[in-house]
């Protein structure tokens, strides 16, 4: 039974990771949003499974949070924003997708290298899961820095947070305060993002981050 639990959590974590790679691969905004939605759902499953395994009821909240907020509301909202603001549907990537994928693989290897020396892990989280979470986080950042527009950066950031939640829920008996803070931070994040995108919309005709550079300070 124990083995089965572990394998399942492995499987789910792996699924989330795969989604991250998919994010890295996507070149079109809507597709990106969809993949992110899927990833969040996978995450929801993973978290739910952890809740089941650890008999930790409060984790279901997190799972639900992930499912509802990240899986549905946010992608929807973002899709609306994209439509309203007539953002160009294809994302200009900085490096070629292949290169990005390659980097992703490299990050995976790195995270495995740093995680494996850990002698023993307690609780529900196996070393592999930790490695997965770490990879997801790193790939999230990679997405942020290889995509040029704000939407995809938000996506990258939130997939990063997915990785966080995966790790957090894996950590057995992590005090409730932590999930609360995660959720709140996600909320605040979304909220402030919203404000900012709105403001930026006020000021410029795109959400392309690079166009902010014109307004960067310290110029004559």
């Amino acid at each position: 039974m124990q083995g089965f639990n572990v394998d399942t959590s492995h499987f789910l974590a792996g699924a989330v990771l795969v989604c991250s790679f998919a994010l890295l691969y996507q070149a079109r905004l809507f597709a990106l949003l969809n993949v992110f939605a899927v990833q969040s759902m996978m995450l929801a499953l993973a978290v739910g499974w952890q809740a089941h395994v650890q008999q930790a009821g409060h984790l279901y909240i997190t799972a639900a949070l992930a499912l509802v907020m990240k899986g549905m509301i946010i992608p929807g909202a973002l899709r609306r924003i994209v439509q309203n603001m007539k953002i160009h549907r294809t994302i200009e990537t900085v490096v070629s997708v292949n290169l990005a994928m390659l980097a992703g693989v490299g990050l995976t290897i790195l995270s495995i290298m740093v995680v494996f020396p850990i002698a023993r892990m307690a609780g529900g989280l196996a070393r592999e899961d930790l490695a997965f979470a770490l990879t997801i986080i790193l790939i999230g950042m990679l997405v942020m820095i290889t995509r040029r527009n704000a939407i995809s950066q938000i996506i990258g950031f939130m997939s990063l947070e997915n990785g966080l939640i995966l790790a957090a829920t894996g950590a057995k008996g992590m005090p409730l305060v932590v999930e609360v803070s995660v959720a709140s931070s996600v909320l605040i994040a979304f909220f402030v993002f919203g404000i900012f995108i709105f403001r930026i919309r006020e000021h410029f005709d795109s959400v392309d981050v690079d166009q902010l550079s014109a307004k960067r300070g310290d110029v004559e």
Binding site: I118, L130, F196, L212
Partner: protein, 479 residues
């Protein structure tokens, strides 16, 4: 008694925050803000009266007791400065009353969050405190809604939240490391317990945790190359916020890093934090020193100088040993006092000259002698010239480093020297150049500046024994 102190520091401001959000008259708001900060300061003074103690959620030891006092003090003086500053901003109509309610409320939120982070014994709570403080400052930085302000706030926000995430992941890892020893639940995040059992933790896990915590909190400290948000956030936000950012938030973040370092120090197998911190500190110092030369915006200039000094402090703590740690703590204190004082002066100067561009600010010695004096003293002090406290700490850092790491000491001195040259060059233009451009009278409240500089001067000549004792205890803890 203790609970009263905590109430004054944490509860009252939160209550006041709600009130501030409702009050529409900015005058009342400003003074309420001052009053709340004053109560917080009073509360932190009360802490000295009660015996130091720790429980699962809060701890008061010689390290944070004086930091809390410092924080609330600077918060208090800043609120006084902010009152006169904001009044002027309203005249200029760069801010509307609606935003001011927001501003004051967030000010209290930030101050409370920082005190909370300082006092909390639970690393998770500490994390929450720091993040709340960060996010509230994000909003305040963007409050002017000019393109530059939004750019700055956006940058601050993105980098900040990535930092948040990294720090949180670090916290998780730390929990995982502790959980094996201390069992599940809150205990595994309670600092006072962790620091005792650090030796038993899994070194690899601990190292990993340290990396992420350093990267996460290091972003807040503004260490190069994680510093990018700092100069713009300082330059584009309201000056009181710049003062608080430089004076307090950076300190609090560094405080978190140091708490972690204490845990690391207890574990032999884990990666030694010292060299990494020294490297980051030194690179920040030299990088910032070089960047100082071509700054055209006076607030950005001093923002980079903050990076520089954070670098020095981090280096000192990375160096370790009783003298270096002592110096680091002293420098932390001196820097926050001096730098916030400088920002007070800069705020008034910018209002007087209607610009932040250095090119537009010259010849203050003739046009605004008082402002010139306060800025001059501030810069001299921050540049590490006696008889001010910064000199004392830099003296200790450099001397003690030279014995152990001559080359690093050389680099350190080089960085300090380069920065010194840049600051001096600017200062000479600003003070002794030919006056030009508009020069309006400002109703500057010189009390805060005088208070800060007076304290720094005093510290340069004489340190109260009790402070010395605390510093030495903490220095020992830091190893």
């Amino acid at each position: 008694m203790t609970s009263l102190a905590f109430a004054l520091i944490l509860i009252v401001p939160v209550a006041g925050m709600v009130l501030l959000a409702l009050i529409s008259s900015y005058r009342i708001g400003a003074w309420l803000n001052v009053a709340l900060s004053a109560t917080a300061f009073a509360g932190s003074c009360l802490l000295f009266a009660v015996p130091m103690q720790t429980d699962t959620f809060f701890l008061v030891d010689s390290f944070n007791i004086y930091l809390v006092a410092l924080n609330t003090l600077v918060g208090f003086t800043t609120s006084i400065f902010s009152a006169s500053y904001i009044a002027h901003e309203l005249e200029q109509e760069t801010l509307t009353r609606g935003y001011l309610r927001f501003y004051h409320a967030l000010y209290q939120a930030m101050m409370t969050a920082m005190s909370f982070a300082l006092l909390s014994n639970n690393l998770g709570l500490m994390w929450v405190g720091i993040e709340v403080a960060t996010l509230s400052t994000v909003v305040m930085v963007g409050i002017y809604r000019t393109a530059q302000a939004i750019e700055a706030a956006w940058k601050y926000f993105i980098l900040g939240s990535v930092g948040i995430a990294l720090a949180f992941f670090g916290t998780i890892l730390l929990y995982l490391a502790a959980e094996q020893v201390l069992g599940e639940g809150a205990a595994a995040l309670t600092w006072s317990l962790l620091v005792n059992d650090a030796a038993k933790f899994d070194p690899a896990l601990l190292s990993l945790a340290f990396v992420f915590l350093l990267a996460g909190y290091g972003t807040k400290v503004g260490l190069a190359p994680l510093h990018a948000w700092l100069p713009d956030a300082h330059a584009e936000g309201p000056t009181p916020i710049s003062a608080v950012l430089s004076g307090l938030l950076l300190n609090v973040a560094l405080y978190a890093v140091l708490r972690i370092k204490m845990i690391m120090a207890g574990n032999a197998g884990a990666i030694p934090p010292g060299p990494i911190m020294m490297f980051m500190g030194l690179s920040s110092l030299i990088f910032a020193a070089i960047m100082l030369y071509r700054r055209r915006d006076i607030k950005r200039l001093f923002a980079y100088s903050s990076i520089e000094h954070m670098g020095i402090i981090t280096f000192a703590f990375g160096m370790g040993g009783p003298l270096a740690n002592f110096a680091g703590l002293l420098h932390m204190t001196m820097h926050s006092l001096t730098k916030s004082g400088i920002f007070f002066a800069v705020g008034h100067i910018a209002q007087a000259k209607r610009t932040q561009k250095l090119a537009g600010i010259t010849g203050l010695a003739k046009s605004h002698p008082v402002l010139a004096w306060s800025l001059g003293i501030g810069v001299i002090a921050i540049a590490g010239v006696p008889p001010f406290g910064v000199f004392t700490s830099e003296f200790l850092v450099v001397t003690t480093t030279f014995v152990r790491q001559p080359i690093l000491a050389g680099l350190l001195a080089l960085g300090i020297l380069i920065a010194f040259g840049a600051l001096l060059m600017r200062l000479q233009q600003v003070l002794f150049g030919e006056p030009q451009g508009p020069s309006h009278k400002v109703s500057a409240s010189s009390l805060p500046v005088l208070l800060h500089m007076g304290l720094v001067l005093l510290a340069g000549l004489w340190l109260p024994q009790i402070l010395v004792d605390w510093f030495q205890q903490v220095a020992r803890l830091l190893g």
